[in-house]
């Protein structure tokens, strides 16, 4: 076993930098220079969906509307993810720094940080860090202001359009897309909404240049990424690792020697069974992840894991579209019936068809991604679903 073969990186939590200085230097550049640097770096959104950050900024910058917004999505709710809390706790100035750079590029004077209700205990320290940041901006004669908005315990508000609804004082129900936020987001104005980690990487790229980031990772997955590692591992915690590793390499480093499966990307992600560890790359060319890595050893029942995920989705579904609202309920009932022997094992195929329907017809990413864990667990651990 090649122990500790994964490359640790220290870009996100590196304290050896002066955010005020980086802002000053970056504001001396043109917007095109900044966007090109980001484009060159290959940075993709770190929340999970992986849209190129430079393009998001560029499209929003191109909108003629005088009012635009930059929003930091800190509604971290995917099961198994906890990196944004650590980033906000340790390097909040870098998050704010990423926001003000984006504001310069797109031409925004206001920014918002949407913090999940479960992290309210971070608020007093964040507010005082924010006061310091605003004082720095005043020194630099930059007209930009950030306000922190609190969530109230709804996973779906991490979906960008649901987040806008929530900020506007409504139920957090996702909107139809298009239009995308770059054209019509918060208050129906052009909006950039980025994950906490994405903003810090953008800021670090402004400091170090694209090269340092681009030299890490693979063609499809550039750079490094902060992983939240939990489950059956002796080393649970937060690690920044170079992208491009296989699940096997990951398990060699973080598993407990008896790893049966790894859930990559949380409840809405994919379950990778032991027989596929070697061939599966963690990244956009294989299984993408917002950072959640949950490790299961052979003592775990994958039926229980799937049941737990489905309960999660059933409760967090906003309920506005039928495929998701009813689909989640029926999937739970269905796997329970098969497990109890009330339904024949073939019934799992009907349930897979239902999950497939949800993938195609649900309105937002929540309902669409239930099929990811459903298929990858049911197909790879069928006997555990039945007996």
């Amino acid at each position: 076993m090649s122990y500790s073969n994964l490359k640790r990186v220290d870009l996100i939590f590196d304290q050896d930098c002066n955010p005020k200085e980086i802002i000053k230097n970056t504001f001396a550049k043109t917007n095109d220079q900044i966007v090109n640097e980001l484009l060159e770096s290959g940075l993709k959104g770190r929340g999970g969906a992986g849209f190129p950050t430079a393009l998001k900024w560029k499209y929003t910058a191109e909108q003629p509307d005088p009012d635009k917004y930059i929003i930091c999505n800190a509604d971290e709710g995917e099961p198994g993810t906890f990196k944004d809390r650590e980033i906000l706790f340790k390097v909040p100035q870098k998050v704010f720094g990423g926001m003000v750079v984006c504001a310069k590029v797109i031409g925004a004077r206001e920014g918002f940080l949407y913090l999940r209700g479960e992290y309210r205990f971070l608020l007093p320290e964040l507010e005082s860090q924010l006061a310091k940041f605003h004082a720095d901006l005043k020194d630099l004669k930059i007209d930009f202001n950030i306000k922190i908005v609190m969530g109230s315990g709804a996973y779906i508000c991490g979906e960008e359009s649901a987040l806008f609804e929530s900020m506007e004082g409504h139920r957090g129900e996702p909107r139809n897309k298009p239009p995308y936020p770059t054209i019509s987001g918060f208050r129906s104005k052009p909006t950039v909404i980025n994950n906490v980690e994405t903003l810090v990487y953008a800021f670090m790229i402004c400091m170090h240049g694209a090269r340092k980031f681009k030299d890490l990772g693979t063609a499809d997955s550039r750079g490094s990424k902060v992983f939240s590692i939990s489950g059956d591992t002796p080393k649970a915690g937060i690690y920044e690792l170079e992208l491009g590793m296989t699940v096997e390499q990951f398990v060699d480093d973080f598993g407990d020697g008896d790893t049966k499966a790894v859930q990559v990307g949380g409840a809405s992600g994919f379950c990778v069974p032991r027989k596929k560890f070697k061939e599966t790359i963690i990244g956009f060319e294989g299984v993408p992840t917002g950072g959640s890595m949950m490790i299961f050893n052979s003592s775990r029942s994958m039926y229980n894991v799937l049941h737990n995920y489905l309960e999660f989705f059933e409760e967090e579904s906003c309920g506005q579209c039928t495929p998701c609202r009813v689909g989640c309920q029926q999937l739970i009932k269905g796997i329970e019936a098969v497990k109890k022997g009330q339904r024949h094992a073939n019934y799992l195929e009907h349930l897979q068809k239902l999950a497939q329907t949800m993938k195609i017809t649900a309105k937002c990413g929540l309902g669409q991604s239930v099929a990811n864990s459903f298929f990858s667990i049911v197909e790879n651990f069928k006997e555990e679903m039945i007996y």
């Binding site: 099961p79 198994g80 205990f121 908005v149 109230s152 489950g231 059956d232 409840a267």
Partner: protein, 154 residues
């Protein structure tokens, strides 16, 4: 309910009277009262000049905006997979035994409510729980007894 009226008025004064102020106001009511009563919702609707149905619709969407009476200390135990694997059931059992209530219930003296919640973001330090806004992690039976006893004395 003159106190609720006063509270809502103060919150509206602080956060404003637009639709965007609705959730901050609801959060403010939770902070003071631990739940949002029908009276509070009616009052907020009057203050913001929107329908009470809209206030109700918004409040009931969010799991932290309780519309049922809750105790002074709301305990939310994480039930998502990483915490479940680390033994959150034992933990819930411990709290149920101590407070003599089941999940979803509030103690007679209105001091504690016990709830379960989805992922709290402490998967590497599970099992975890929130008591109001404060997070407690790496919980053991012993640790939980200690924490709850401390709150009992408050």
């Amino acid at each position: 309910m003159p106190e609720i009226k006063e509270l809502v008025k103060n919150l509206a004064g602080k956060h404003g009277r637009t639709r965007e102020s609705l959730i901050p106001i609801l959060q403010g009511v939770i902070h003071e009262e631990r739940y949002i009563s029908d009276e509070a919702m009616t009052e907020i609707a009057r203050e913001l000049d929107i329908s009470a149905a809209q206030v109700y619709g918004t409040a009931t969407f969010y799991s932290f905006l309780d519309t049922q009476p809750r105790g002074k200390y709301v305990i939310r135990v994480c039930r998502t997979i990483s915490c479940a694997m680390k033994g959150k059931n034992l933990l819930t059992q411990e709290i149920e035994d101590m407070l003599k209530i089941k999940i979803g219930e509030t103690t007679q003296n209105k001091k504690f409510s016990l709830l379960e919640t989805n992922c709290l973001g402490w998967c590497h330090k599970g099992p975890a729980m929130l008591v109001n806004d404060d997070a407690y992690t790496d919980l053991t039976s012993e640790k939980v007894r200690e924490i709850i006893s401390d709150y009992m004395k408050k």
